[in-house]
Structures are given as structure tokens and as C-alpha cells.
Amino acid sequence: MAFDSARYILLQALQSLKRNIWLSLASVLTVTISLILLGSAVLFLANTAQVAKTFESQLEIAVFLEKDYSREQLSDLQKQLERMEGVASVVLTTREQAVWQFEETMGSDSLLEDLGGINPFPDKFTITATDATLVEGIANKIMAIEGVSKVRYGQGILEKLINFTHWLRWVGITVVAAFSFASLLLISLSIKTNVNSRAKEIQIMRLVGASNAFIRWPFLIEGLIIGLTGALVAILVVGLGYSWLLQYIVTTLAFIPVVANQQFIINVLLLMLLSGMAMGAVASLLSVRAYLKF
């Protein structure tokens, strides 16, 4: 296509945006809202997954030992546990450490004296699994090891937690899917309205001999511009909003695990940009199509 045509098409798109300024702004707004929803949903999903993972990784198995183990025996046992399949970490709490912890909790500072020098606590290993679903199996295996007096893990609560994290993930995916669908629908409706309002224009263009491509291009560019603008605003809102949120949570609510991975956030924002432009373009093309049947 000649330079004059390309220039003409761009001018057309801009002029049309300007002359239907309110409709254009409405479309941009729709795109913005949709993409904010989309972006937020993806970030929400990522954080949900993060929280779920944290939950799961914090599921611990407490292993209480029979009394009177020597240091060496303890460290042998620890090595044996660490070699087990699915075990992520093994932490030892000796009988002495247990007393200190107890004193700390109870606010007493003379427990051993009070007890006449007898330490009532057993040695204890705290084990985390690489995956929450492995916990039960590991616990059962450990139970069979000689010298272990008792194994405890959140039997009842464990299933609930696994359930809950799966549920959270599922909710997240549903939310993203629903919002993506709504976004696509709203953008295409908005651009369709835009095209509809110019049905007469398209008909006349066809009657004076404009080719389909010639008719389509300005609408395509227009859709791209609308999608781009909407996406940029949405990116600004989501980007600033999320970084503010991160700031807030990291300083105030450090116990909530958040996704602060720069690259990931940039990818989400890029996804929003591409979605906006793609949706704008696709919606334009689909909308003009109806009028280009001869």
C-alpha cells in the first residue's frame, strides 16, 4: 500500500477517534476496567498460589523420641530422616532447648529447679515435607523407626488445609477465566457499537469502491489505539496499586507471603498490554466483518 494510503488510514483512525470522542473514551474506559480486572485476577491468583504453597510448606511433622539419646545417636537419626524421600528439612529440638522454650512461654525462669532438676521433655525433630500430600506417608514411615515414641502432625487439619489451598487455586483460576471472558465481551461489544454507529459510513465506502482492506485498516488501527490506551491506563493503575500494596504488606504485615518477583510483575503488565491490543484489534475486525459481505 502506498505511503499516501498508509498516511490516509492513520489520519482516518485518529479523526474517527476524535469525532466520536465520547464513544472512544467509553471504549477506552471499558478496556481499562476489563484489564484492571484481568491484571488483578492474575496477581491475585499468583498470590493465592504463593500463600497456598507457604501453608503447605509449613505443615510440620513433630517426632518425639524415647528418652536418653546421645548427641551422636541424635545426629545419626537426623541424617537418616533427612535421607527419607519427600523430606525437605529436619530440625532438632533437644530436651534442653525444650526447657528454655517452655520457660520462655510460661514466663517462669526456674523450671528445672522447681522440678528438682528433672527434665520432663523428650528430644524432638521437626520435619517439613516437600509436598503436603507426602506428609502422611512420611509420618507413617517414621513411626516404624526404632526409638521414636510418638509422631504428631495435623491429622485432622491437614486434609482441610490441602482442600483449602486447592480450593483457593480453583477460585483464582475461575476468577481469571470469568474476568478474561467478560473483558473480551465488553471490549468487542464496545468496538462493535462503535462500528455499528458507522454502518452507514462503511456502506458508503463500499459503494464508492473502497476495498475491504482499505475499509478495515482504519478500524483496526482505531481498535489498536483504543486497546493500547486502555491497557496503558490499566497498567498504570495495576502497577502502582500493586507496588503500593507490596510496600504496605512487606512493612506492616510481613507474615503474609507476597509475590514480589519483578520479572513476574512485568510479565503480568506485558500480558495486559498485549491482551488490550489484541482484543482491540480482534474486536474491530470481527465487528467490521459483518458489513463487508457482498
Binding site: D4, Q15, K200, R206, L207, G209, A210, N212, F294
Partner: protein, 228 residues
């Protein structure tokens, strides 16, 4: 140049607009289509640039059979045909200048040519001073003249005009007729539907009379005068 063979047009709602029309128009001819309101003149004209498609029969323009045209090829045919629409069909969001320039931009002509052609043609129809107005800011006759300018600007092989003087006073109407005559003398085939019988009488061209969807009279060969 233009050939209709046993053409009928029945609209989807059942209106029988044209019935078994046979018509042949040679290159360079000037033909008036006359007949009462609702006779089928506009329908016949719409078949020529394929706004409507014949229900039966063949429409052949410049050796191209419009019935067998691929959708993609339609614009190419239309580019050889200039049309003055009965209801003007001006783009409401474009100025007079842009409306006329548009028909050329569609063909990919360069900016300078487009500007020159547009200005010259608007002058011909006496609208150079209304260049920056939008259609809604024009009188009925002015809109009609913009439409004439748009049809002429590309120097088409075929010029089709549906009632191009309906909203014009005698002086302007004669001006437009003179333009059409000039263009015709330069080789363009002209087909014009009209109710202005005094103009038809005056021009002494071939006259085809349509009534209730049929051709009831064709003055081909004779230099005829058709009364009321």
C-alpha cells in the same frame, strides 16, 4: 458496455421491482431512464453497480458478468462507475472536501492529485466556497451537487445518476446537465434516471421508459420526445 439479459428483481419482502428486463447500452451512449414513482428505475440502477443482485438473469458490465463476480472483485468494478445516489449518501462526519477526496483516496491516488481534482470538480458544480462545510450544513441542492462532484471526480467509464437534479433550480440543473453532456462527449457512458421531462425533452438523447418493472418504451435509434 452495459447488458441486461432477462433480468428480474424481487426484493426479499416480495416486492416485484423489475420483471424480465432486456437492455443494452453501448459505450459512449447517454440514456435517460424515466417512469412513474416506484416503477423500478432506482432498482435497475442499483443492479448496475451491484448494490443489489438480480434475482434472475444476467447483468454484464464492461464484459464482466456481475452475477459471477467474487466479493473481492466488487470494489474493482465499482471504481469504474461513478454514482449520483438519489439519497446522496454523503459521509456525515466528513466535510464536503473530504467527501469528494475520499472517492479518490480509495483508489490510492497521491495527495496532490487528490487535492487538485477535488478543488477543480467542486468548482465545476459551484461549491468551492462550501468546501469546509459538513453535509448537515448544506442546503438540499448543495448536497446533491456534492454527490455529483464525487461521482465525476474519478472520470469513470460509466456515470450513473439517479435523479441528480431533483433538488436543483433550473439554472443549477442545466449546469449539471451540461457537465454530464461534456463528460459523455469525452467518452463516458451516462445513465440517468429522472422525472424532469423538460430536461429529457431538451437533451434529445435515448429515453428508456420503465413502468411497473417493465420497459414499455425505448427510443433507441429515433431522436424522440416523450410527453407526460
Amino acid at each position: 458496455m452495459i447488458k441486461l439479459k432477462n433480468v428480474s428483481k424481487i426484493y426479499p419482502n416480495g416486492a416485484r421491482a423489475l420483471l424480465n428486463i432486456d437492455l443494452e447500452i453501448d459505450k459512449g451512449e447517454f440514456v435517460f431512464l424515466v417512469g412513474p414513482s416506484g416503477a423500478g428505475k432506482s432498482t435497475l440502477i442499483k443492479l448496475l453497480y451491484r448494490e443489489e443482485i438480480a434475482t434472475r438473469g444476467q447483468v454484464i458490465i464492461d464484459n464482466i458478468n456481475l452475477m459471477r463476480l467474487k466479493p473481492r472483485e466488487v470494489p474493482l468494478v465499482r471504481r469504474n462507475i461513478g454514482v449520483v445516489f438519489q439519497d446522496f449518501k454523503l459521509l456525515p462526519n466528513k466535510t464536503v472536501f473530504e467527501n469528494v477526496a475520499f472517492a479518490q483516496q480509495v483508489l490510492g491516488k497521491n495527495k496532490k492529485t487528490v487535492k487538485e481534482n477535488t478543488l477543480r470538480t467542486l468548482e465545476l458544480v459551484g461549491l468551492d466556497r462550501k468546501m469546509a462545510s459538513f453535509p448537515s450544513q448544506l442546503s438540499g441542492g448543495e448536497q446533491q451537487r456534492v454527490c455529483v462532484a464525487r461521482a465525476l471526480v474519478n472520470r469513470p467509464k460509466i456515470l450513473i445518476a439517479d435523479e441528480p437534479t431533483g433538488n436543483l433550480d433550473m439554472e443549477n440543473a442545466l449546469g449539471i446537465m451540461e457537465l454530464l453532456d461534456q463528460i459523455n462527449k469525452m467518452g463516458t457512458t451516462v445513465v440517468m434516471a429522472t422525472h424532469a421531462l423538460h430536461i429529457v425533452d431538451m437533451m434529445k438523447k435515448r429515453v428508456v421508459r420503465v413502468e411497473a418493472g417493465r420497459i414499455v418504451e425505448d427510443s433507441k435509434g429515433e431522436a424522440s420526445t416523450i410527453g407526460i
